[in-house]
Each structure stands twice: as C-alpha cells, then as structure tokens.
C-alpha cells in the first residue's frame, strides 16, 4: 500500500515534467516534501521554490536541496510581482483553499502559467460511493474517515472546466489520467478520468 500510494502521490509528475520547459522558474504551492521540485530540478534544471505550511515538510525540502518557504500560500503569492514565475503549480492543493477562485487568480497573476492537478470527483467510482453507499470515498489516497480529515472541497473535471470558462481562464493543455492515475484517457473524462491536470493562462 505504501508504494502504491507513493506512486499515486506522484501521479502528475510525469505529465507536469513534460510541460515544464528547461530552466523554468517554478513556484510549487503545497509542495509537501519537495519531491516534485527535486524531480524538476534534476530533469529540467528549474529554479524551484516550494511552499508548505508544515515544518516537517520544509525540513524534508531542505534535505532535498529544494528552497522552501514555510507559510501560507496566499501570503507568499501576495509578496511576488506579476509574472514573477514562469509557472505556478497547484498539485492536489486547490481543494483545500478557503477561496479557490481568489488563490487561482493570484496564481495566474504571479505565474505566466498555472498548472493544476486534482482528483476528479466525477470519476465513476467516486459517484458509486456516493450514490450506492451514501458515503464519501475512502481509498488509499483518501484513507481517513470524515472526522479525521482536513476540510476539503472536492470538485470534478466538468466543474473545473466550467469554472475556467466562466472566469475566462484559458486551458492551454490538459491531460486526463485513468482510474489507476497512470495511463492517459481522453474519452468521457468527467466520468472516466481519475485524475486531471491542466495548464492555464490568464486570457
């Protein structure tokens, strides 16, 4: 289970790495232990900065030689000038923001591009949990029952694309991963994609 989760946790790495250009300046918001940035540093020679609220995560970043800032995502975004980074990454963090729209818009101000990766809650298995069992999804990625979980605001591929359209945010690239979060799957993404990754730009 450990390795399975480890792989899942890094599901969007390969896709993001494909999209990142050589030597980009990258800001990873909710960077965790800095694994993605370390990977991008090694494979793409990026200048990357991670942001996380948790001390132990920052310590792990220091261990990985990844510059990291312990603090609030909105506060750090506010301190940067427009287009300070080539890319701002939100990998599985958007669902935890108090005001997702405001934070994403700030990301689009600070980054020339914004990369968002998230678990698609429109995925059919997630629907079955809800429809058949009347319960939230519990799996290796979300192992904890509701009473032991941090507040989260899950959304689906369709909801996210509706949001981008409503706010006039350009989707420049996208990738849908199947339920195993490995193979790419383009058909009926709102139903069949387990995970979705987007590259966004302000219009």
């Amino acid at each position: 289970m450990h390795t399975q989760h480890g792989k899942k946790r890094q599901a969007d790495f390969q896709v993001i790495a494909q999209w990142v250009a050589e030597g980009e300046r990258v800001l990873d918001l909710g960077c965790g232990r800095g694994v993605l940035l370390q990977y991008l540093k090694q494979t793409k020679g990026v200048y990357g900065v991670g942001v996380d609220i948790d001390f132990d995560k920052i310590l792990s970043c220091v261990k990985r030689n990844v510059p990291a800032y312990q603090g609030d995502v909105n506060e750090i975004l506010a301190c940067f000038q427009d287009n300070a980074f080539d890319r701002v990454i939100f990998s599985r963090t958007v669902e935890q923001f108090d005001d997702p729209d405001a934070t994403l818009q700030e990301g689009l101000r600070v980054g020339k591009k914004v990369t968002v990766g998230f678990v698609n809650h429109g995925y059919w298995k997630n629907r079955i949990n809800s429809a058949l069992h009347g319960s939230r999804t519990i799996n290796e990625v979300y192992p904890d029952p509701w009473y032991a979980s941090i507040p989260a605001n899950p959304f689906s591929v369709a909801e996210f694309e509706d949001y981008c359209m409503a706010k006039n945010i350009r989707i420049t690239q996208k990738a849908y991963l199947a339920g195993d979060w490995k193979s790419e799957r383009a058909l009926l993404p709102n139903l069949l994609a387990g995970y979705a990754i987007y590259d966004l730009a302000a219009s």
Binding site: M1, H2, H5, R25, R33, Y47, V49, F55, D56, I58, L59, S60, C61, V62, K63, N65, P67, A68, Y69, Q70, G71, E75, I76, C79, F80, Q81, A84, E140, P143
Partner: protein, 377 residues
C-alpha cells in the same frame, strides 16, 4: 503508510570539553564606516575542531547582543555553565566539530576582550569610552573577516547566527558573497521597527540618566550599574514571551516580603537577579554602542531591500520563532520573501516554541534536525 521521513537521530554526541580563548591583534589602523578609526584592532575568539587541509570546513558563529565568543565547551572542569550554544556545537552535534572547524569571535564594540569602548587606547593610555568610533554591523563583520584571513580561511563553509548574529550573518553574505558557502540566520530581522528602537532607547536612557555614567567616563569600579541593570531587566522581558513567563513564574510569590516594594513575586526576583548578574559581566558603554549599531542596521537602505540583497549568492536558511515578539516571524519572512523575489536560493522555516526571542537558544529536536540538515546540504 507513514508519510514522515524521520531523520536518523542516533548519533554519538560528545563535548568539545575544555577550551581556551585566543586574541587576534591587528596593529594596522582599523577604520570604521563612520569615518573614525582605532590604532589597533583586537578580537577575542575561540575555535573548536580542526581546519582541514583544503581549509574549506570552517563555520563562523555570530553571537547575539550580549553573547560572546564562548559558545561551546568550558574553561575548566569547575565551570558550571558551558558556552551559550553548547548543545548545538560539539562532536556529533548539528554543528559537528568532528567535521567542521568552528570559529566564534566577540563582536567589535563588545566588552569580552575585543576592541570596544572599554578598551585602553594605546595612544592615550586611557579607555576610549565615548571616543570609540560610531559602530555599525558592517564594521563588526569587516573585523571578523580580518580574523578569518588571519586563520588562513578564504571561504567559510557557513556563517550562522541568531538575533544580532543573524544581522551579522546577512551582512557577511552581502559584503563578502564569495567567501560564504551557505548561511543560517535565526530570530533576526532586516531592520528594527519602531517598537524595538523604543525598547533599546529606553534601555540606553536608563544608563545615560544614571549619574554614575558620567558621560561615559566612569571607572571600572564605579559604573552606572543601576541603569545598566534596569536596561537589562527590560530587555530581558523582550527576550521571553507572555506564555513563557506565565509558565515559568505565573503569580508565584516569595515566602515573605517585609517592605512594600521588596521582591514579592518570583518574576521580580528573577529579573532583578538577571540585572545584578548582567552588570558583573557587561560594560554599559558597550551596551550603548551595540544597541545603537543594531538600531541603525537597515537592509532596506540605501535604496531598497532587493538592491541590498542582490549581491547574495550563497544558499540561505532563515528561521523564525512563533513566540518571538522582538524579532517576530514577519521580519524573518520579509528577508526570505525579498531573497525569493530576487530568485535566490533561500528557505524559511518557522518553529512553534514558547520561549520568545530566546527560542533559538533552547534545545529542540526540530531545530537540531534543521541545522544539521542544512549544513550538510
């Protein structure tokens, strides 16, 4: 499915043991940023560990306002208290003396053996007192760089400092970027805010208005002890935190207080003791000079924080402490945010501790891991 990455904390820790200080003396005239000069420069310092053949394993430790060069070990087996950062420095400790050559000098302007207002001027045979030139953090760092030269060290593996030591650390990477491999600044700031200047001046006024101060020309036997003690008592409060003091003292009382204004509460007893102790080891004029140097320190100047920091090339780690209200987390973050705006390799970590500004002097596994890890990077 454990998400944590534990650091192996098993280590054979030892002590640096008995240490002695040494004096670096330069007989060249030392000029200050303010334009003044002294005919001879003396810095008292200690070293632990060994300088390797490549001379690239030296770490410079910069002490806080009232700290000194004695940051590890003891002078004799009878000494009760080891150096001020003994838990951090030693064989197998985060600043590992089996690996690194550790240097710590008493700051210029201090009173523990380095040139300062209390030093006898070779020209007059009298203490400089207020004739000692106006002092800046840059002067302190330049003096240290001469010491480092004399030890044959071209490039330091790291510069590490807390509080005033953190300011010196930043001055190091600004003035000598090519001489520093990495740096750690703890519980520090890029400049004093109005509140900090206000506290410092209240302390200075306590000294200056003590009749024994004599415009700085007091004798060693009869100095402004009362003013200096009050300055220390007040400053000491700013080094602690509300919660920390509540936990340590609360409203606990002494057994008896005969007179109305005798010591009644434990916290009074503690602070008065701190004041009394301080005057036995610290010089009032040094206190005035050093606090003034810190009040004037301003990395926002002369043009902007970004411009000042643009020379920095070494990777840095800045550490703030949640309960520090003297140099609060915000000021530490400000530094890192500016470094990141410049595209520098800088990290910020924040520790939730109750010990106020002095948190960096308290041993905790997290700080231990952080410093050990960063120095190894």
């Amino acid at each position: 499915m454990n998400d944590s990455e534990q650091t192996a904390v098993i280590s054979d820790e030892g002590e640096v043991g008995i240490v002695e200080y040494q004096d670096f003396v330069s007989s060249e005239r030392f000029s200050f940023e303010s334009g003044g000069s002294i005919p001879e420069l003396r810095l008292r310092y200690e070293t632990y560990g060994h300088l390797n053949e490549a001379k690239d394993n030296a770490i410079l430790i910069c002490h806080a306002l009232t700290g000194d060069h004695h940051c590890a070990g003891v002078y004799s087996m009878d000494e009760r208290k080891p150096g001020w950062w003994n838990f951090m420095i030693g064989p197998g400790k985060p600043i590992n003396t089996s690996e690194y050559f550790v240097i710590c000098s008493n700051a210029l302007g201090g009173c523990m053996g380095s040139s300062g207002p209390g030093t006898i001027s070779p020209e007059t045979g009298q203490p400089y007192n207020l004739d000692f030139p106006k002092l800046t953090v840059r002067d302190m760092v330049r003096a240290q760089s001469m010491l480092i030269d004399s030890l044959g060290v071209d490039r330091l593996h790291a510069v590490v400092g807390g509080s005033m030591g953190g300011m010196q650390t930043m001055q190091w990477v600004i003035d000598y970027p090519e001489r520093v491999g990495r740096y750690i600044s703890l519980a520090s700031c890029v400049r004093h805010n109005a509140q900090t200047i206000a506290f410092n001046d209240t302390g200075r006024q306590a000294i200056i208005t003590d009749p024994a101060w004599q415009n700085g020309s007091y004798t060693a036997e009869k100095g402004p002890d009362k003013g200096l003690a009050v300055a220390r008592m007040m400053a000491h409060i700013t080094y602690l935190s509300d919660v920390g003091m509540e936990n340590k003292f609360g409203r606990r009382r002494r057994a008896s207080a005969d007179e109305h204004f005798d010591v009644e509460f434990e916290v009074e007893s503690y602070l008065r003791y701190q004041g009394r102790q301080f005057v036995t080891r610290f010089d009032a004029n040094s206190y005035l000079y050093l606090t003034k140097a810190l009040d004037r320190f301003d990395l926002h100047g002369p043009n902007s924080l970004e411009e000042t920091l643009s020379a920095v090339s070494a990777p840095g780690l800045v550490v703030g402490f949640t309960s520090d209200w003297l140099y609060p987390p915000q000021g530490n973050r400000e530094l890192v945010e500016a470094l990141l705006r410049l595209g520098k390799d800088a990290s910020y970590a924040e520790l939730a501790m109750d010990y106020g500004h002095d948190s960096f002097l308290v041993r905790t596994p997290k700080l231990y891991d952080l410093i050990r890890t960063f120095l190894k990077r």
